[in-house]
Amino acid sequence: MAAAPLIEIIKLSKVFSDDENRVVALNDITLTVKEKEVYGIVGMSGAGKSTLIRCINRLDTPNAGQVLYRGQDILRMNRRQLLATRRKMGMIFQQFNLLMQRTVGQNVRYPLEIAGVKHTKANARVKELLDIVGLSDKLNAYPAQLSGGQRQRVAIARALASNPEVLLCDEATSALDPMTTQSILELLQDINRRLGITIVLITHEMAVIRQICDRVAILDGGEVVEEGSVDEVFVHTKSEAGKRLFGVLPQEAQDDPGIPALRIVFDGAVAAKPIISRLSQETNVAVNILSANMNHLGGKVYGQMLIETPKDEQDKNAVVRFLTEQGLTVREVNT
């Protein structure tokens, strides 16, 4: 990707301290978000990811470092410049943060109001935005009348109102059920592709990263422990934190079966179900499991499984196709 850098975070550090405690939330973070990409920041809770994304639009002020937006340091901007830059960045939150006393339409119109957009023009834009997120019929509803997924859609429409260049997503799907998460992720992907809006998202779910991100940074203890394209990081996880997030124990990640095998990565995208027996039934291939290391977390499966590669090329393709269709990642080992 030859895209220009949009956001450059350079040597960023943030320490929370009071009289007794000193907590290093971010330690010397450096990373670059390119234009029009979907950049994911993943980490366990307490890894500092929320603080990091909030430093991008200066909702939190770091102690040291730079946040460059198109080459301009956000941390050194005066108030007017900061407000102008924030209007180019949309942000959505885990708890949606809608104005509860305003209707859906009035919520989406808020950014237009504060920017002084004319009434009729603003109303037309609100309709257009609600159309994008599929909530045209909820114009006059109040947020309290909507489901969580619908509320996040309103928040997305609101974040898009000012025609931002980047959308910051702070655990945007963490309060939603798996089905709703899917539809919100699809919407975000659609927004990225159709409107060309750069997306920076933080999450603790590897499945979210794998589904829509181009590149990912793994955050642990306030530091970036791994960064790269999602495929790269996903298949060749190097860091302890990364392996933990994938639900893989360190020693098992290196295991080498010594024969051609398929490594199946369960990253929580697939609900716990007897996938291997269905694999055998549907492809008519007898599957030989070499090793498996799986964790069940909240009805989802995390971990890896090694199966012997079927000798027959057609069988192998059928198996890979079936697993891929199920939303799993399959990699060949020892080909």
């Binding site: 407000l83 102008a84 939150f93 943060n97 006393q101 504060i114 974040a159």
Partner: protein, 220 residues
């Protein structure tokens, strides 16, 4: 005392009570509301933290609030005379009522505004809102139902204070009940004036709650 004799006295008392209560509440809000907003916005974690200013303001408000109304009334006599032209009487008492109520109003407003979800304010900040826009378009509208409830409570409190108006030559239902009712052993007057006060409080509370609930869109 017959009802025909009681009614005009009570009516006049009612009018005087409202004449003291309503303007005092309005002026107290005119002063207390901006102070309440300042208390919230300049607090640590507010949209414009100014801890030292906030501490001084908080202390000043607490100081004013801690002076009992009856003492404040007496202490303010010279000031009241300077501002209102005279120190005693129904009209003059609006001044000490206002002085005593505005710190209370400031705290009520503060209480309502701190209830506004921090996340919603942050969302507004992330969209590039100025502080003034956040106050006008987020804090006040989001807290509106609670502010309205607070206003009803403030009004009832001020109404209660007007009963002490009799000590400064003020009129109203409270003064009627004490001076012409209790002191002159006119019990029908005392009870009917008191009942009217109770009814007034009930009406204010009822409508305050009702409008507050109607204007709240958080639950549906």
């Amino acid at each position: 005392m017959s009802w025909e004799q009681l009614a005009p006295i009570l009516l006049e008392g009612l009018w005087e009570t409202l004449y003291m209560t309503v303007p005092s509440t309005l002026i107290a809000y005119l002063i207390g509301m901006p102070l309440g907003i300042l208390l919230v916005t300049t607090a640590t974690g507010g949209i414009r933290p100014m801890p030292r200013f906030n501490a001084v303001l908080g202390m000043a408000i607490n100081f004013l609030r801690s002076v009992p109304f009856i003492i404040l009334l007496a202490m303010l006599f010279p000031v009241t005379r300077a501002v209102m032209g005279r120190a005693i009487g129904t009209q003059a008492i609006i001044f000490p009522l206002t002085v005593s109520a505005f710190p209370y109003v400031a705290r009520m407003v503060e209480n309502s505004l701190v209830e506004v979800d921090r996340g919603v304010i942050e969302a507004a900040q992330s969209m590039g809102s100025t502080d003034w826009q956040i106050i006008r378009k987020v804090l006040l509208p989001e807290a509106f139902p609670s502010l309205l409830n607070g206003a009803a409570i403030c009004m009832v409190t001020i109404l209660g204070y007007t009963a002490m108006a009799s000590t400064a030559g003020g009129g109203g239902l409270g003064a009627l009940a004490i001076t012409k009712g209790l002191n002159m052993r006119n019990f029908p007057l005392m009870y009917s004036a008191s009942l009217l006060l109770v009814a007034l409080v009930q009406i204010m509370t009822y409508f305050g709650n009702r409008i507050s609930r109607k204007s709240d869109h958080r639950k549906k």
